[in-house]
Amino acid sequence: MASSDYGASRLTQVRVWVTEWAASLELPVSVWLLCETAVFRLGVSGVAVTMDNAAGWPETRHSTDVLSARLVELQVTVGEGPCADACQAGGPVLVADLDSPAIQRRWPLFAPLAVEAGARALFALPLCVGTIRFGILALHHIEPRQLEPATLADSLAFAALALRLLLDEQAGLPTTDGGLPLHNPQVHQATGMISAQLNVGMEDAFARLRARAFTDQRPLADLAVDVVARRLRFDPTGETT
């Protein structure tokens, strides 16, 4: 039953690749380094991470090349594209060939401009946990390409790692090798409860939950169980029961 370990093992492998690359450059692990590692490991032409700015528009936070950044700009300019769709859907949008008739019909403004700019394949992977949204990990390729299953799995793993780096940054926590139990529904239920208790958004609620787990040196999942069972409340005036 190899399968249930496969996803976790891909995330572990991607983490190792990024960490090794960082170590070889004597730099800390970062989202930018993740993008560079992804280009090499996935064999794609370029990678960008977009994040929504204060006005709600996606901005390129990191890109490995000019075309990656250009593709982001184009989508903002024409107001459509795989990244916007991925953001809205909360799931990936994988385009093997921007020049195909179906795709040209789907994004009549963006697709021709993207092809003209030199891109043929585009894979938009949202970086989100429910309504907690950071942006997109966007991979492009200058030739049409249907991602092979292993490459697709690794692409998702890169997105999962990027998400974790961004979550750690938001929570002000050091990046660890520990797993983040994002498959656990009680973690998300607890987040929702804390959001209501503190009257803050889900991003802040989740950051508070993580910070508390870190301070108490307890696994996040255990803390979530306590919140859902109402043994632990978060109080706007200070600390908790």
């Binding site: 799931g91 990936p92 994988l94 249907q146 656990n184 804390i194």
Partner: protein
């Protein structure tokens, strides 16, 4: 089981496939109808991601959800077996299942279940997930119920695979990842609603779903609207006494 209700169910499933297809709503419909039509007490549905890892997508109640998770975490249980071998797996009396599934059997009986059936969601050689049916009294699923379950599972499998060829991993990935994220949105909304209304997660889910059905909206859209503050938490309790049809909600929009 009522024949008419069975026909209604297939019509409903077909309509969902043809019109605005939403994986989460479709699968919730399926598990609910299973409970209603097959004389079982709970149902849970898991889909595999492209790593072959099973993820819970829909259950007929919160308790079952915990159980499915349990299965996954401990790498044992009827659903996992059905998924792995590609044929149905049953156990008529879970008090005798300890040797087969040491941890699952105990958790299932603790949760009040006495019998289980698991059907793989399979199309030819590809198994994409599994359906788990639970009963509170021991026994086997009768023949008619089993065949009905197989037919419902087949419709669901075809529906999920409809958009693409089985070789195309990309659409499966898009569909599954989107459904999983929608699931997280729903969990976040449950927490928010549970806290504000002072109810448990089951009650929070019922409020969200009652509103979604009453106004013919997608569950995940209602969840997003509540989180964003576009729909007030207390508005969830004021659903119309009869479900609003598609035409009505368009007129009200």
């Amino acid at each position: 089981m009522g024949e008419e209700r069975l026909v209604d169910t297939f019509v409903e499933l077909a309509d969902t496939l043809i019109d605005d297809f939403d994986v989460i709503d479709f699968l919730h419909l399926l598990v609910d109808r299973c409970v209603e039509l097959l004389d079982v007490d709970a149902a849970g549905l898991l889909l595999a991601n492209q790593h072959g890892q099973l993820q819970v997508i829909a259950t007929s109640n919160e308790q079952v959800r915990l159980l499915e998770l349990f299965q996954l975490q401990n790498d044992e249980g009827p659903c996992l077996d059905a998924f792995a071998i590609g044929t149905g797996v049953s156990h008529a009396d879970l008090t005798t299942a300890a040797a087969r599934w040491p941890r699952f059997a105990g958790a299932a009986t603790d949760a009040g279940f006495a019998a289980v059936d698991a059907l793989p969601m399979r199309l030819r050689s590809e198994v994409i997930g599994a359906l788990n049916l639970f009963r509170t009294s021991p026994g086997v699923l009768d023949d008619t119920a089993l065949r009905t379950a197989q037919a419902l599972v087949a419709v669901a499998t075809i529906g999920l695979l409809q958009e693409r060829s089985i070789r195309n991993q990309e659409i499966l990935t898009e569909q599954l990842q989107t459904a999983l994220n929608s699931r997280v949105v729903i969990e976040q909304a449950k927490g928010l609603v549970a806290e504000r209304l002072g109810v448990d997660m089951q009650g929070a889910f019922a409020a969200l779903r009652g509103y979604a059905r009453g106004y013919n909206l997608k569950l995940s859209d209602v969840a997003r609207a509540v989180i964003a503050g576009r729909t007030g938490t207390h508005d969830l309790l004021a659903t119309p006494s009869r479900p609003v049809s598609q035409g009505d909600s368009a007129a009200n929009a």
